[in-house]
Subunit: 334 residues, 2 copies
């Protein structure tokens, strides 16, 4: 069998490949009883004294490499910072493995590095190690691994939501994925749309520092909010009911999504977080999120239930199933 | 200006790119006063309590992906484990970022994952986090970042050699690079040559556990022993004098190197270590190395001196300069 685009698109096809061919062959997948690879969470952990080292990696390919709102450099920092953030960790250090094609413009590499620097300053992380190779690729690829620190036992899992929890999303969805699609395909919408790519560690910290517990958390990148909600539901063995009229979606994303026949729920975000929190904390957490510039459009979008499995959405015409996308509707957006 | 193969080949051209375009643009390059990116050592460190987290990354492209003695999977584990090992750290965890081309054979991915698993068991490390993407690449690329642990202040630097130190290399040089070249180019030597790719953490540990201090250490990969020795010399401000007749080189590598006009000193190794140690410890360290299967051909090859800068080699016809290669004589071998 051969690899297809779907194997890298963050949906069910990719999950099968990862579980069978990758996880299925590896025997050593955790350290010191920490969260391991088999959890398929946003990051893993290594207990060390009274702390846990949180460790994650993301390989970044995006076409075009420069787009409204960001570039591959900014994504390389934010994607990894955000994976650490949704574990409840404080991101501290990144590694960058840069693969360049022959003929790549050094001026563009310079721009990308400047963008990486700006994003690192925003996120208060450092690039402490790196590697550069030149190979047969059609464009630059940046793999960024990251290290964060969390107190022992305090990591937030994507599996931890409880019945009755409230689901909050931190802002408008679908902006990154649709921006990439419009830019790449050259659709002629007159659009102000830009990617939401941003480091969310400050936003998450504002909730944790206020003393609130987050039961489960993810950043809805590849596969969009639909993928994240389904994973949270599946891993907890519970269901999620969301309400279409409560989803934070800009008019622009709504319009473009409808025009192109693409559901914004299935499209990548690069500066958002979705969390399950106790119902009694939810309004206060919403208030805290709204104070932060990246959380001003935060919304309560649903609740956790044991009445069904998976994700359902209440719409004007009744409930519909929100499935895990088979694969990303927009190949290579993140 | 455009990127060329030389920018990824581990020589002076690449060093210029890294120093100017990559390091030159980054402001946050270290954490908590640890060893940072600007040191350009084999790994960096993050002090945490009475320990330091050691962090490194390598992007692996190799053609062909299967070769005598190993494959891209085994290199991905060993390359990163070895970078941690030469810092004096105990490697514990790896991340894998896998980039696959469309059409890649899933059976080959399966073989690579099995090889990764075997190498992890040999090195006693775990793959705890990963990411898979499908992109426009001509063959599989694996970036592996790694975490190791060392006691606070105990990291071994590549800059720490002292006048009078003795230089030891742990075994026969040039085998990986020449194996790749022969396999890729299909030269018709009847050859038993195979890559030396192996995790050297056990070998290094045997020296450290015996209580010996290693003043400086590197694993001579891209650019070969010539590159590593020059870097150790430059960073310490001292010179190294090595002796051609003491270099551990197999007859096969010697013969093939001469036939192809390639100096084994400039060719990648993937299972070797070069160290600078106190003269009075050197014979005992050599004995310890020789007990380990990966160190049986270890040799004392030279000494550290303040009489000249850089690296000189005593040959039958006098001394010659051993330069940092401009770039790898064999593109994309590691």
């Amino acid at each position: 069998m051969k690899i297809t685009r779907m194997h890298g698109a963050g949906g069910t096809v990719m999950q099968k490949l990862i579980k069978e061919t990758i996880l299925g062959n590896l025997e050593n997948t955790s350290v010191n009883g920490g969260i391991g690879l088999e959890s398929l969470d946003d990051a893993s952990t290594i207990p060390l004294g009274d702390k846990e080292i949180v460790f994650t990696v993301d390989g970044h390919t995006v076409k075009p490499i420069f787009f409204p709102g960001g570039d591959i450099g900014r994504i390389s920092v934010c994607g990894t910072v955000n994976d650490l953030s949704v574990m409840g960790a404080t991101p501290i250090a990144l590694s960058l493995s840069i693969i360049l094609p022959e003929g790549f413009d050094i001026e563009n590499l310079d721009k990308i590095m400047k963008s990486i620097n700006e994003a690192c300053k925003e996120a208060e992380v450092s690039v402490i190690t790196g590697d550069t190779k030149v190979s047969n690729v059609d464009d630059i690829i940046i793999s960024s691994a990251g290290i964060g620190i969390v107190g022992l036992g305090n990591a937030v899992r994507d599996s931890g939501m409880k019945e009755g929890d409230v689901i909050i999303v931190s802002g408008n969805i679908g902006e990154h994925g649709l921006t990439i699609l419009l830019t790449r395909e050259g659709f002629e919408f007159e659009s102000e749309l830009k990617s939401d790519v941003a480091p969310i560690n400050g936003l998450v910290k504002s909730v944790l520092d206020a003393g609130f517990k987050i039961n489960a958390m993810k950043d809805p990148t590849r596969g969009g909010l639909a993928d994240s909600l389904n994973e949270m539901a599946e891993k907890s063995g519970l269901g999620i009911l969301i309400h279409e009229d409560k989803l934070p979606i800009s008019n622009e994303v709504q319009f473009i999504g409808e025009a192109l026949g693409i559901d914004p729920l299935t499209v990548a975000n690069e500066g958002k977080v979705v969390m399950a929190v106790r119902a009694e904390d939810s309004e206060k957490i919403l208030e805290i999120l709204k104070i932060h510039p990246l959380g001003k459009n935060a919304k309560i979008i649903g609740t956790v239930t044991s009445e069904h499995k998976g994700v359902l959405m209440e719409t004007l015409v009744g409930k519909r199933i929100v499935d895990t996308p088979l694969g990303d509707p927009i190949p290579r957006v993140c």
